[in-house]
Protein backbone atom coordinates (compact mmCIF):
# COMPACT_ATOMS: atom_id res chain seq x y z
CA UNK A 1 0.00 0.00 0.00
CA UNK A 2 2.39 2.64 1.26
CA UNK A 3 5.96 2.90 0.12
CA UNK A 4 8.57 1.76 2.62
CA UNK A 5 10.39 4.99 1.91
CA UNK A 6 8.03 7.92 1.90
CA UNK A 7 7.82 11.62 2.46
CA UNK A 8 7.21 13.00 5.93
CA UNK A 9 3.80 14.23 6.85
CA UNK A 10 3.01 17.75 5.69
CA UNK A 11 -0.03 19.64 4.37
CA UNK A 12 1.03 18.77 0.83
CA UNK A 13 -0.72 15.36 0.52
CA UNK A 14 -4.03 16.98 1.47
CA UNK A 15 -3.61 19.46 -1.33
CA UNK A 16 -2.82 16.63 -3.70
CA UNK A 17 -5.91 14.58 -2.92
CA UNK A 18 -8.13 17.65 -2.56
CA UNK A 19 -9.28 17.93 -6.21
CA UNK A 20 -10.29 14.31 -6.46
CA UNK A 21 -11.91 14.28 -3.03
CA UNK A 22 -13.83 17.46 -3.77
CA UNK A 23 -15.24 16.04 -7.01
CA UNK A 24 -15.99 12.74 -5.35
CA UNK A 25 -17.82 14.44 -2.50
CA UNK A 26 -19.79 16.90 -4.61
CA UNK A 27 -20.69 14.71 -7.57
CA UNK A 28 -20.65 11.18 -6.13
CA UNK A 29 -21.17 10.90 -2.42
CA UNK A 30 -23.55 13.80 -1.94
CA UNK A 31 -25.84 12.80 -4.88
CA UNK A 32 -25.75 9.17 -3.83
CA UNK A 33 -26.78 10.03 -0.28
CA UNK A 34 -29.41 12.38 -1.69
CA UNK A 35 -30.78 9.48 -3.71
CA UNK A 36 -30.79 7.40 -0.57
CA UNK A 37 -32.62 10.14 1.35
CA UNK A 38 -35.11 10.85 -1.41
CA UNK A 39 -35.96 7.19 -1.62
CA UNK A 40 -37.55 7.59 1.82
CA UNK A 41 -39.68 10.55 0.76
CA UNK A 42 -42.96 10.93 -1.04
CA UNK A 43 -43.47 14.20 -2.81
CA UNK A 44 -46.96 15.63 -3.01
CA UNK A 45 -48.46 16.04 -6.49
CA UNK A 46 -47.71 19.76 -6.68
CA UNK A 47 -44.09 19.45 -5.63
CA UNK A 48 -44.67 21.73 -2.65
CA UNK A 49 -43.68 19.47 0.16
CA UNK A 50 -42.59 15.98 0.88
CA UNK A 51 -43.25 13.45 3.56
CA UNK A 52 -40.91 10.98 5.16
CA UNK A 53 -42.29 7.54 4.59
CA UNK A 54 -39.51 5.12 5.54
CA UNK A 55 -39.50 2.12 3.25
CA UNK A 56 -42.81 2.74 1.56
CA UNK A 57 -41.23 3.50 -1.80
CA UNK A 58 -39.39 0.22 -1.68
CA UNK A 59 -42.51 -1.65 -0.65
CA UNK A 60 -44.33 -0.04 -3.54
CA UNK A 61 -41.52 -1.14 -5.86
CA UNK A 62 -41.72 -4.74 -4.77
CA UNK A 63 -45.46 -4.67 -5.16
CA UNK A 64 -45.26 -3.04 -8.57
CA UNK A 65 -45.73 -5.61 -11.31
CA UNK A 66 -44.13 -3.26 -13.89
CA UNK A 67 -40.97 -3.02 -11.82
CA UNK A 68 -40.75 -6.76 -11.25
CA UNK A 69 -41.26 -7.31 -14.96
CA UNK A 70 -38.49 -4.83 -15.70
CA UNK A 71 -36.25 -6.69 -13.28
CA UNK A 72 -36.86 -10.00 -14.98
CA UNK A 73 -36.48 -8.40 -18.40
CA UNK A 74 -33.14 -6.91 -17.38
CA UNK A 75 -31.96 -10.30 -16.19
CA UNK A 76 -32.95 -11.98 -19.47
CA UNK A 77 -31.50 -9.14 -21.49
CA UNK A 78 -28.14 -9.09 -19.73
CA UNK A 79 -27.75 -12.87 -19.70
CA UNK A 80 -28.48 -13.03 -23.42
CA UNK A 81 -26.16 -10.11 -24.24
CA UNK A 82 -23.36 -11.63 -22.17
CA UNK A 83 -23.88 -15.11 -23.63
CA UNK A 84 -24.06 -13.92 -27.22
CA UNK A 85 -21.10 -11.56 -27.12
CA UNK A 86 -18.89 -13.80 -24.98
CA UNK A 87 -19.76 -16.86 -27.02
CA UNK A 88 -18.89 -15.28 -30.34
CA UNK A 89 -15.79 -13.65 -28.87
CA UNK A 90 -14.61 -17.01 -27.51
CA UNK A 91 -15.17 -18.67 -30.87
CA UNK A 92 -13.32 -15.95 -32.76
CA UNK A 93 -10.47 -15.79 -30.27
CA UNK A 94 -10.11 -19.57 -30.36
CA UNK A 95 -9.60 -19.49 -34.09
CA UNK A 96 -7.65 -16.22 -34.15
CA UNK A 97 -5.10 -17.68 -31.76
CA UNK A 98 -4.41 -20.54 -34.21
CA UNK A 99 -3.94 -18.31 -37.22
CA UNK A 100 -0.46 -17.09 -38.05
CA UNK A 101 -0.94 -15.37 -41.36
CA UNK A 102 -3.05 -12.23 -41.14
CA UNK A 103 -3.37 -12.42 -37.35
CA UNK A 104 -2.79 -8.70 -36.99
CA UNK A 105 -5.34 -7.90 -39.68
CA UNK A 106 -8.03 -10.02 -38.05
CA UNK A 107 -7.34 -8.51 -34.65
CA UNK A 108 -7.58 -4.96 -35.93
CA UNK A 109 -10.77 -5.69 -37.82
CA UNK A 110 -12.39 -7.29 -34.79
CA UNK A 111 -11.58 -4.76 -32.10
CA UNK A 112 -12.68 -1.45 -33.48
CA UNK A 113 -16.39 -1.64 -32.63
CA UNK A 114 -15.18 -0.98 -29.09
CA UNK A 115 -14.84 2.65 -30.13
CA UNK A 116 -18.45 2.95 -31.27
CA UNK A 117 -20.71 4.64 -28.72
CA UNK A 118 -23.67 2.48 -27.61
CA UNK A 119 -26.16 5.00 -28.96
CA UNK A 120 -24.41 4.92 -32.34
CA UNK A 121 -24.45 1.14 -32.33
CA UNK A 122 -28.18 1.45 -31.73
CA UNK A 123 -28.55 3.93 -34.59
CA UNK A 124 -26.68 1.64 -36.97
CA UNK A 125 -28.79 -1.37 -36.13
CA UNK A 126 -32.05 0.52 -36.17
CA UNK A 127 -31.16 1.73 -39.64
CA UNK A 128 -30.38 -1.76 -40.88
CA UNK A 129 -33.63 -3.04 -39.43
CA UNK A 130 -35.83 -0.10 -40.36
CA UNK A 131 -39.17 -1.75 -41.19
CA UNK A 132 -39.81 0.19 -44.38
CA UNK A 133 -36.31 0.81 -45.71
CA UNK A 134 -33.86 -1.41 -43.90
CA UNK A 135 -31.83 -4.08 -45.58
CA UNK A 136 -32.61 -6.92 -43.22
CA UNK A 137 -36.40 -6.57 -43.24
CA UNK A 138 -36.17 -6.55 -47.05
CA UNK A 139 -34.46 -9.95 -47.03
CA UNK A 140 -36.46 -11.28 -44.10
CA UNK A 141 -39.57 -10.61 -46.15
CA UNK A 142 -38.46 -13.29 -48.64
CA UNK A 143 -38.47 -15.93 -45.93
CA UNK A 144 -41.86 -14.77 -44.74
CA UNK A 145 -40.87 -12.85 -41.63
CA UNK A 146 -42.66 -9.57 -41.24
CA UNK A 147 -40.19 -7.42 -39.31
CA UNK A 148 -41.45 -4.42 -37.41
CA UNK A 149 -39.73 -3.77 -34.11
CA UNK A 150 -41.97 -0.76 -33.52
CA UNK A 151 -44.90 -3.11 -33.07
CA UNK A 152 -43.45 -6.45 -32.10
CA UNK A 153 -41.95 -6.56 -28.60
CA UNK A 154 -39.99 -9.75 -29.17
CA UNK A 155 -38.38 -8.37 -32.28
CA UNK A 156 -37.55 -5.12 -30.51
CA UNK A 157 -35.85 -7.09 -27.74
CA UNK A 158 -33.84 -9.16 -30.23
CA UNK A 159 -32.73 -5.99 -31.97
CA UNK A 160 -31.41 -4.32 -28.81
CA UNK A 161 -29.73 -7.57 -27.75
CA UNK A 162 -28.03 -7.86 -31.14
CA UNK A 163 -26.85 -4.25 -31.09
CA UNK A 164 -25.60 -4.49 -27.50
CA UNK A 165 -23.80 -7.79 -28.08
CA UNK A 166 -22.27 -6.57 -31.35
CA UNK A 167 -20.61 -3.67 -29.60
CA UNK A 168 -19.24 -5.80 -26.79
CA UNK A 169 -17.69 -8.59 -28.90
CA UNK A 170 -14.54 -6.52 -29.45
CA UNK A 171 -13.85 -6.14 -25.75
CA UNK A 172 -14.41 -9.82 -24.94
CA UNK A 173 -12.36 -10.88 -27.93
CA UNK A 174 -9.34 -8.89 -26.75
CA UNK A 175 -9.44 -10.34 -23.26
CA UNK A 176 -9.96 -13.90 -24.48
CA UNK A 177 -7.15 -13.58 -26.98
CA UNK A 178 -4.77 -12.23 -24.34
CA UNK A 179 -5.74 -15.03 -21.95
CA UNK A 180 -5.20 -17.72 -24.59
CA UNK A 181 -1.85 -16.31 -25.59
CA UNK A 182 -0.66 -16.42 -22.00
CA UNK A 183 -1.17 -20.21 -21.80
CA UNK A 184 2.28 -21.82 -22.04
CA UNK A 185 2.81 -23.57 -25.35
CA UNK A 186 4.35 -26.59 -23.66
CA UNK A 187 0.98 -27.55 -22.16
CA UNK A 188 -0.69 -27.49 -25.54
CA UNK A 189 2.18 -29.33 -27.18
CA UNK A 190 2.11 -32.05 -24.55
CA UNK A 191 -1.57 -32.57 -25.24
CA UNK A 192 -0.91 -32.67 -28.97
CA UNK A 193 1.75 -35.34 -28.50
CA UNK A 194 -0.73 -37.36 -26.49
CA UNK A 195 -2.94 -37.27 -29.53
CA UNK A 196 -5.53 -34.64 -28.59
CA UNK A 197 -6.96 -32.84 -31.60
CA UNK A 198 -7.61 -29.07 -31.70
CA UNK A 199 -11.19 -29.38 -30.51
CA UNK A 200 -10.31 -31.61 -27.63
CA UNK A 201 -7.35 -29.44 -26.66
CA UNK A 202 -9.66 -26.47 -26.59
CA UNK A 203 -12.25 -28.00 -24.29
CA UNK A 204 -9.96 -29.89 -21.95
CA UNK A 205 -7.02 -27.48 -21.68
CA UNK A 206 -7.59 -24.00 -23.06
CA UNK A 207 -11.13 -23.49 -21.86
CA UNK A 208 -10.50 -24.51 -18.22
CA UNK A 209 -7.31 -22.47 -18.12
CA UNK A 210 -9.04 -19.31 -19.25
CA UNK A 211 -11.95 -19.73 -16.85
CA UNK A 212 -10.77 -16.80 -14.67
CA UNK A 213 -11.06 -14.57 -17.73
CA UNK A 214 -14.51 -15.97 -18.44
CA UNK A 215 -15.61 -15.13 -14.94
CA UNK A 216 -14.12 -11.65 -15.06
CA UNK A 217 -15.78 -10.99 -18.43
CA UNK A 218 -19.09 -12.28 -17.13
CA UNK A 219 -19.13 -9.61 -14.41
CA UNK A 220 -17.98 -6.88 -16.79
CA UNK A 221 -20.59 -7.86 -19.37
CA UNK A 222 -23.35 -7.90 -16.81
CA UNK A 223 -22.40 -4.40 -15.68
CA UNK A 224 -22.26 -3.33 -19.31
CA UNK A 225 -25.67 -4.78 -20.08
CA UNK A 226 -27.17 -3.29 -16.93
CA UNK A 227 -25.95 0.27 -17.37
CA UNK A 228 -24.12 1.16 -20.54
CA UNK A 229 -26.80 -0.14 -22.85
CA UNK A 230 -28.97 2.84 -21.93
CA UNK A 231 -27.97 4.60 -25.16
CA UNK A 232 -28.95 1.62 -27.28
CA UNK A 233 -32.38 1.32 -25.69
CA UNK A 234 -32.96 5.04 -25.84
CA UNK A 235 -32.07 5.27 -29.51
CA UNK A 236 -33.64 2.04 -30.76
CA UNK A 237 -36.87 1.46 -28.89
CA UNK A 238 -37.26 3.98 -26.06
CA UNK A 239 -38.30 1.11 -23.90
CA UNK A 240 -41.15 0.15 -26.18
CA UNK A 241 -43.24 -1.07 -27.77
CA UNK A 242 -45.33 -1.01 -24.63
CA UNK A 243 -42.61 -1.63 -22.09
CA UNK A 244 -41.12 -4.69 -23.76
CA UNK A 245 -37.56 -3.32 -23.73
CA UNK A 246 -37.69 -1.19 -20.57
CA UNK A 247 -34.72 -2.37 -18.56
CA UNK A 248 -34.00 -1.11 -15.04
CA UNK A 249 -31.65 1.72 -15.90
CA UNK A 250 -34.06 2.97 -18.54
CA UNK A 251 -36.89 2.85 -16.03
CA UNK A 252 -34.93 4.94 -13.51
CA UNK A 253 -34.40 7.58 -16.17
CA UNK A 254 -37.95 7.40 -17.45
CA UNK A 255 -39.68 7.51 -14.06
CA UNK A 256 -37.40 10.28 -12.81
CA UNK A 257 -37.06 12.63 -15.76
CA UNK A 258 -40.18 11.90 -17.73
CA UNK A 259 -42.61 10.65 -15.09
CA UNK A 260 -41.19 12.94 -12.36
CA UNK A 261 -41.78 10.32 -9.67
CA UNK A 262 -38.76 11.39 -7.63
CA UNK A 263 -39.17 9.09 -4.65
CA UNK A 264 -39.84 6.04 -6.79
CA UNK A 265 -36.97 6.82 -9.11
CA UNK A 266 -34.63 7.35 -6.16
CA UNK A 267 -35.67 4.04 -4.65
CA UNK A 268 -34.88 2.38 -7.96
CA UNK A 269 -31.50 4.12 -8.01
CA UNK A 270 -30.75 2.73 -4.57
CA UNK A 271 -31.62 -0.78 -5.71
CA UNK A 272 -29.34 -0.34 -8.72
CA UNK A 273 -26.53 0.95 -6.52
CA UNK A 274 -26.86 -2.11 -4.33
CA UNK A 275 -26.64 -4.29 -7.43
CA UNK A 276 -23.49 -2.53 -8.65
CA UNK A 277 -21.89 -2.82 -5.24
CA UNK A 278 -22.61 -6.56 -5.16
CA UNK A 279 -21.13 -6.98 -8.62
CA UNK A 280 -18.04 -4.95 -7.75
CA UNK A 281 -17.47 -6.90 -4.57
CA UNK A 282 -17.83 -10.19 -6.44
CA UNK A 283 -15.35 -9.00 -9.02
CA UNK A 284 -12.85 -7.84 -6.42
CA UNK A 285 -13.06 -11.02 -4.44
CA UNK A 286 -12.26 -12.82 -7.63
CA UNK A 287 -9.29 -10.54 -8.35
CA UNK A 288 -7.96 -11.28 -4.88
CA UNK A 289 -7.90 -15.03 -5.29
CA UNK A 290 -7.83 -16.29 -8.82
CA UNK A 291 -9.32 -19.65 -9.72
CA UNK A 292 -6.57 -22.17 -9.12
CA UNK A 293 -5.85 -25.69 -10.21
Amino acid sequence: MLKRVHFPSSPLPYLLVAPQLAITLIFFIWPASQAMYQSFLVEDPFGLGSEFVWFENFELLWGDQHYLDAFLRTAVFSVLVAALSMGSALLLAGFAQRVVRGAMFYRTMLIWPYAVAPVLAGALWVFMFNPTLGIFPYFLDFVGIDWNHYLNGGQAMSLVILAAAWKQVAYNFLFYLAAMQSIPNSVIEAAAIDGAGPGRRFWTIIFPLISPTTFFLLVINMVYAFFETFGIIHAVTQGGPGSSTTILVYKVFNDGFVGLDLGGSAAQSVVLMALVIVMTVVQFRYVERKVEY
Binding site: K3, S9, L12, I23, M109, A121, N185, F253, A266
Partner: protein
Protein backbone atom coordinates in the same frame (compact mmCIF):
# COMPACT_ATOMS: atom_id res chain seq x y z
CA UNK B 1 1.08 -23.78 -34.80
CA UNK B 2 1.57 -27.22 -33.40
CA UNK B 3 0.59 -29.52 -36.21
CA UNK B 4 -0.21 -28.96 -39.83
CA UNK B 5 -3.91 -29.38 -40.37
CA UNK B 6 -4.89 -27.77 -43.64
CA UNK B 7 -8.58 -28.19 -43.02
CA UNK B 8 -8.49 -26.62 -39.56
CA UNK B 9 -6.45 -23.71 -40.87
CA UNK B 10 -8.94 -23.24 -43.66
CA UNK B 11 -11.80 -23.38 -41.18
CA UNK B 12 -10.07 -20.85 -38.90
CA UNK B 13 -9.70 -18.37 -41.73
CA UNK B 14 -13.26 -18.97 -42.84
CA UNK B 15 -14.72 -18.37 -39.37
CA UNK B 16 -12.55 -15.32 -38.83
CA UNK B 17 -13.51 -13.83 -42.19
CA UNK B 18 -17.18 -14.45 -41.41
CA UNK B 19 -16.64 -12.81 -38.02
CA UNK B 20 -14.96 -9.80 -39.57
CA UNK B 21 -17.82 -9.46 -42.04
CA UNK B 22 -20.44 -9.68 -39.30
CA UNK B 23 -18.60 -7.11 -37.20
CA UNK B 24 -17.98 -4.75 -40.09
CA UNK B 25 -21.38 -5.01 -41.75
CA UNK B 26 -23.17 -2.28 -39.76
CA UNK B 27 -20.31 0.14 -40.35
CA UNK B 28 -20.14 -0.76 -44.03
CA UNK B 29 -23.86 -0.12 -44.44
CA UNK B 30 -23.47 3.22 -42.67
CA UNK B 31 -20.64 4.15 -44.97
CA UNK B 32 -22.62 3.16 -48.05
CA UNK B 33 -25.61 5.17 -46.84
CA UNK B 34 -23.33 8.19 -46.48
CA UNK B 35 -22.34 7.96 -50.14
CA UNK B 36 -25.78 8.12 -51.74
CA UNK B 37 -28.22 10.94 -52.20
CA UNK B 38 -31.53 11.31 -50.46
CA UNK B 39 -33.54 10.00 -53.37
CA UNK B 40 -31.65 6.74 -53.56
CA UNK B 41 -31.87 6.28 -49.80
CA UNK B 42 -35.66 6.21 -49.98
CA UNK B 43 -35.94 3.30 -52.41
CA UNK B 44 -35.89 -0.31 -51.35
CA UNK B 45 -33.74 -2.29 -51.47
CA UNK B 46 -31.14 0.06 -50.10
CA UNK B 47 -27.78 0.00 -51.85
CA UNK B 48 -24.98 -2.25 -50.63
CA UNK B 49 -22.32 -0.63 -52.76
CA UNK B 50 -20.97 2.93 -52.33
CA UNK B 51 -22.30 5.71 -54.52
CA UNK B 52 -20.72 9.02 -55.48
CA UNK B 53 -22.30 11.49 -53.08
CA UNK B 54 -19.95 11.17 -50.13
CA UNK B 55 -18.34 14.57 -50.63
CA UNK B 56 -21.65 16.33 -51.09
CA UNK B 57 -23.14 14.63 -48.03
CA UNK B 58 -20.12 15.56 -45.95
CA UNK B 59 -20.43 19.18 -46.95
CA UNK B 60 -24.15 19.22 -46.34
CA UNK B 61 -23.73 17.57 -42.95
CA UNK B 62 -20.77 19.53 -41.69
CA UNK B 63 -21.76 23.01 -42.76
CA UNK B 64 -25.45 22.74 -43.54
CA UNK B 65 -28.25 23.30 -41.08
CA UNK B 66 -28.37 19.61 -40.22
CA UNK B 67 -31.65 17.90 -40.96
CA UNK B 68 -34.44 19.93 -42.41
CA UNK B 69 -37.25 19.97 -39.90
CA UNK B 70 -35.09 19.56 -36.79
CA UNK B 71 -33.39 22.23 -34.77
CA UNK B 72 -29.81 21.12 -34.42
CA UNK B 73 -26.53 22.91 -34.28
CA UNK B 74 -24.20 22.58 -37.28
CA UNK B 75 -22.29 19.35 -37.12
CA UNK B 76 -18.82 20.91 -37.09
CA UNK B 77 -19.81 22.64 -33.86
CA UNK B 78 -20.95 19.37 -32.31
CA UNK B 79 -17.65 17.79 -33.29
CA UNK B 80 -15.83 20.60 -31.49
CA UNK B 81 -18.04 20.19 -28.43
CA UNK B 82 -17.37 16.47 -28.37
CA UNK B 83 -13.68 17.06 -28.74
CA UNK B 84 -13.65 19.60 -25.92
CA UNK B 85 -15.63 17.31 -23.64
CA UNK B 86 -13.50 14.24 -24.40
CA UNK B 87 -10.27 16.18 -23.88
CA UNK B 88 -11.43 17.77 -20.64
CA UNK B 89 -12.59 14.45 -19.24
CA UNK B 90 -9.44 12.56 -20.15
CA UNK B 91 -6.94 15.25 -19.18
CA UNK B 92 -8.85 16.03 -15.98
CA UNK B 93 -9.14 12.41 -14.96
CA UNK B 94 -5.47 11.75 -15.58
CA UNK B 95 -4.37 14.88 -13.70
CA UNK B 96 -6.40 14.38 -10.55
CA UNK B 97 -5.75 10.64 -10.43
CA UNK B 98 -2.01 11.13 -10.80
CA UNK B 99 -2.00 13.60 -7.94
CA UNK B 100 -4.13 11.56 -5.58
CA UNK B 101 -2.31 8.31 -6.35
CA UNK B 102 0.96 10.12 -5.63
CA UNK B 103 -0.36 11.33 -2.28
CA UNK B 104 -1.68 7.92 -1.29
CA UNK B 105 1.44 5.99 -2.23
CA UNK B 106 4.19 8.39 -1.18
CA UNK B 107 2.88 10.13 1.91
CA UNK B 108 1.89 8.98 5.31
CA UNK B 109 -0.79 11.26 6.64
CA UNK B 110 -3.82 11.01 8.91
CA UNK B 111 -7.01 9.89 7.12
CA UNK B 112 -4.99 8.39 4.31
CA UNK B 113 -7.13 5.26 4.24
CA UNK B 114 -10.32 7.31 4.51
CA UNK B 115 -9.32 9.17 1.37
CA UNK B 116 -8.52 5.91 -0.33
CA UNK B 117 -11.92 4.43 0.47
CA UNK B 118 -13.77 7.54 -0.57
CA UNK B 119 -12.13 7.34 -3.95
CA UNK B 120 -12.79 3.61 -4.11
CA UNK B 121 -16.51 4.16 -3.64
CA UNK B 122 -16.78 6.06 -6.92
CA UNK B 123 -16.00 2.79 -8.66
CA UNK B 124 -19.35 1.55 -7.49
CA UNK B 125 -21.47 4.50 -8.51
CA UNK B 126 -21.79 4.78 -12.29
CA UNK B 127 -23.47 7.97 -13.42
CA UNK B 128 -26.54 6.04 -14.54
CA UNK B 129 -27.57 5.11 -11.00
CA UNK B 130 -27.33 8.58 -9.53
CA UNK B 131 -28.45 10.70 -12.47
CA UNK B 132 -31.25 12.61 -10.83
CA UNK B 133 -29.47 13.94 -7.73
CA UNK B 134 -26.27 14.60 -9.66
CA UNK B 135 -28.30 16.57 -12.15
CA UNK B 136 -29.72 18.63 -9.29
CA UNK B 137 -26.25 19.34 -7.93
CA UNK B 138 -25.02 20.50 -11.32
CA UNK B 139 -28.13 22.61 -11.82
CA UNK B 140 -27.69 24.24 -8.40
CA UNK B 141 -24.10 25.06 -9.21
CA UNK B 142 -25.28 26.75 -12.40
CA UNK B 143 -23.21 24.46 -14.57
CA UNK B 144 -25.95 23.40 -16.99
CA UNK B 145 -25.06 24.02 -20.63
CA UNK B 146 -21.37 24.48 -19.97
CA UNK B 147 -18.23 22.51 -20.68
CA UNK B 148 -17.55 22.33 -16.96
CA UNK B 149 -20.90 20.75 -16.29
CA UNK B 150 -20.34 18.31 -19.13
CA UNK B 151 -16.97 17.13 -17.92
CA UNK B 152 -16.34 17.64 -14.20
CA UNK B 153 -18.95 15.23 -12.81
CA UNK B 154 -17.42 12.49 -14.93
CA UNK B 155 -13.85 13.27 -13.96
CA UNK B 156 -13.45 11.48 -10.65
CA UNK B 157 -12.29 7.99 -11.36
CA UNK B 158 -11.31 5.18 -9.09
CA UNK B 159 -9.96 3.05 -11.93
CA UNK B 160 -7.40 5.61 -13.04
CA UNK B 161 -6.30 6.24 -9.44
CA UNK B 162 -5.86 2.51 -8.89
CA UNK B 163 -3.90 2.13 -12.07
CA UNK B 164 -1.47 4.87 -11.14
CA UNK B 165 -1.21 3.51 -7.63
CA UNK B 166 -0.23 0.18 -9.14
CA UNK B 167 2.33 1.83 -11.39
CA UNK B 168 3.85 3.87 -8.56
CA UNK B 169 4.14 0.81 -6.35
CA UNK B 170 6.39 -0.82 -8.95
CA UNK B 171 8.77 2.16 -8.96
CA UNK B 172 11.89 1.09 -7.02
CA UNK B 173 12.33 2.70 -3.59
CA UNK B 174 15.97 3.48 -4.40
CA UNK B 175 14.84 6.16 -6.82
CA UNK B 176 13.12 8.07 -4.06
CA UNK B 177 16.04 7.57 -1.70
CA UNK B 178 18.55 8.90 -4.17
CA UNK B 179 16.25 11.76 -5.12
CA UNK B 180 15.98 12.74 -1.48
CA UNK B 181 19.73 12.50 -0.97
CA UNK B 182 20.12 14.83 -3.93
CA UNK B 183 17.78 17.21 -2.15
CA UNK B 184 14.66 16.89 -4.32
CA UNK B 185 11.36 17.81 -2.71
CA UNK B 186 8.14 15.83 -3.27
CA UNK B 187 6.91 17.86 -6.21
CA UNK B 188 10.31 17.79 -7.89
CA UNK B 189 10.39 14.02 -7.49
CA UNK B 190 6.88 13.74 -8.91
CA UNK B 191 7.63 15.94 -11.87
CA UNK B 192 11.11 14.74 -12.79
CA UNK B 193 10.97 11.05 -11.91
CA UNK B 194 7.45 9.69 -11.51
CA UNK B 195 5.87 11.42 -14.49
CA UNK B 196 8.53 10.38 -17.02
CA UNK B 197 8.41 6.83 -15.65
CA UNK B 198 4.67 6.52 -16.13
CA UNK B 199 4.57 8.11 -19.58
CA UNK B 200 3.35 5.04 -21.47
CA UNK B 201 0.72 4.31 -18.81
CA UNK B 202 -0.54 7.85 -19.14
CA UNK B 203 -0.72 7.53 -22.91
CA UNK B 204 -2.53 4.19 -22.72
CA UNK B 205 -5.00 5.58 -20.23
CA UNK B 206 -5.53 8.64 -22.37
CA UNK B 207 -6.58 6.49 -25.33
CA UNK B 208 -9.20 4.69 -23.24
CA UNK B 209 -10.45 7.84 -21.55
CA UNK B 210 -10.70 9.74 -24.79
CA UNK B 211 -13.02 7.07 -26.16
CA UNK B 212 -14.94 7.02 -22.86
CA UNK B 213 -15.37 10.79 -22.94
CA UNK B 214 -16.24 11.02 -26.61
CA UNK B 215 -18.91 8.34 -26.28
CA UNK B 216 -20.73 9.84 -23.29
CA UNK B 217 -24.41 9.94 -24.00
CA UNK B 218 -26.79 10.08 -21.04
CA UNK B 219 -24.99 12.83 -19.19
CA UNK B 220 -24.72 15.35 -22.07
CA UNK B 221 -28.31 14.51 -22.96
CA UNK B 222 -29.47 15.64 -19.52
CA UNK B 223 -27.44 18.73 -18.93
CA UNK B 224 -27.39 20.38 -22.34
CA UNK B 225 -30.59 21.99 -23.44
CA UNK B 226 -28.93 24.65 -25.53
CA UNK B 227 -28.41 23.37 -29.09
CA UNK B 228 -25.02 25.05 -29.29
CA UNK B 229 -23.75 22.68 -26.60
CA UNK B 230 -24.91 19.40 -28.10
CA UNK B 231 -22.29 16.76 -28.69
CA UNK B 232 -22.21 14.73 -31.85
CA UNK B 233 -23.01 11.44 -30.15
CA UNK B 234 -26.21 12.74 -28.62
CA UNK B 235 -27.29 14.50 -31.82
CA UNK B 236 -27.82 11.11 -33.45
CA UNK B 237 -30.80 10.48 -31.25
CA UNK B 238 -32.43 13.78 -32.21
CA UNK B 239 -31.82 12.98 -35.83
CA UNK B 240 -33.36 9.54 -35.48
CA UNK B 241 -36.44 11.20 -34.05
CA UNK B 242 -36.56 13.69 -36.89
CA UNK B 243 -36.13 10.82 -39.34
CA UNK B 244 -39.70 9.79 -38.70
CA UNK B 245 -40.90 12.90 -40.50
CA UNK B 246 -38.15 13.42 -43.04
CA UNK B 247 -36.07 10.32 -43.55
CA UNK B 248 -32.84 11.85 -44.79
CA UNK B 249 -30.86 8.76 -44.02
CA UNK B 250 -27.88 9.91 -46.06
CA UNK B 251 -27.39 12.88 -43.71
CA UNK B 252 -28.10 10.89 -40.56
CA UNK B 253 -25.65 8.19 -41.50
CA UNK B 254 -23.01 10.72 -42.52
CA UNK B 255 -23.35 12.23 -39.06
CA UNK B 256 -23.09 8.79 -37.48
CA UNK B 257 -19.97 8.16 -39.54
CA UNK B 258 -18.44 11.46 -38.42
CA UNK B 259 -19.24 10.59 -34.81
CA UNK B 260 -17.54 7.21 -35.10
CA UNK B 261 -14.45 8.15 -37.04
CA UNK B 262 -12.41 9.92 -34.31
CA UNK B 263 -12.57 7.16 -31.66
CA UNK B 264 -12.14 4.40 -34.27
CA UNK B 265 -9.14 6.23 -35.65
CA UNK B 266 -7.69 6.44 -32.14
CA UNK B 267 -8.21 2.70 -31.56
CA UNK B 268 -6.67 1.63 -34.83
CA UNK B 269 -3.76 4.04 -34.96
CA UNK B 270 -2.78 3.49 -31.32
CA UNK B 271 -3.73 -0.15 -31.09
CA UNK B 272 -0.89 -1.15 -28.82
CA UNK B 273 -1.56 1.61 -26.31
CA UNK B 274 -5.26 0.91 -26.54
CA UNK B 275 -4.85 -2.77 -25.68
CA UNK B 276 -2.49 -1.91 -22.84
CA UNK B 277 -4.85 0.70 -21.45
CA UNK B 278 -7.84 -1.58 -21.63
CA UNK B 279 -6.21 -4.49 -19.86
CA UNK B 280 -4.53 -2.30 -17.25
CA UNK B 281 -7.50 -0.23 -16.16
CA UNK B 282 -9.96 -3.07 -15.85
CA UNK B 283 -7.84 -5.59 -14.05
Amino acid sequence: MIENRPFTSFLSHLILILGVIAIALPIWITFVAATHNELRMNQTPLPLWPGTYLWENLQKTLFGKGLSGSETAPVWMMLLNSLAMAMMISVGKIAISLLSAFAIVYFKFPFRMTCFWMIFITLMLPVEVRILPTFEVVANLGLLNSYWGLSIPLIASATATFMFRQVFLTVPDELLESARIDGAGPMRFFWDILLPLSRTNIAALFVILFIFGWNQYLWPLLITTDTSMTTIVMSIKQMLEAAEQSPQWNIIMTTALLAMVPPIFVVISMQKLFVQGLTETDK
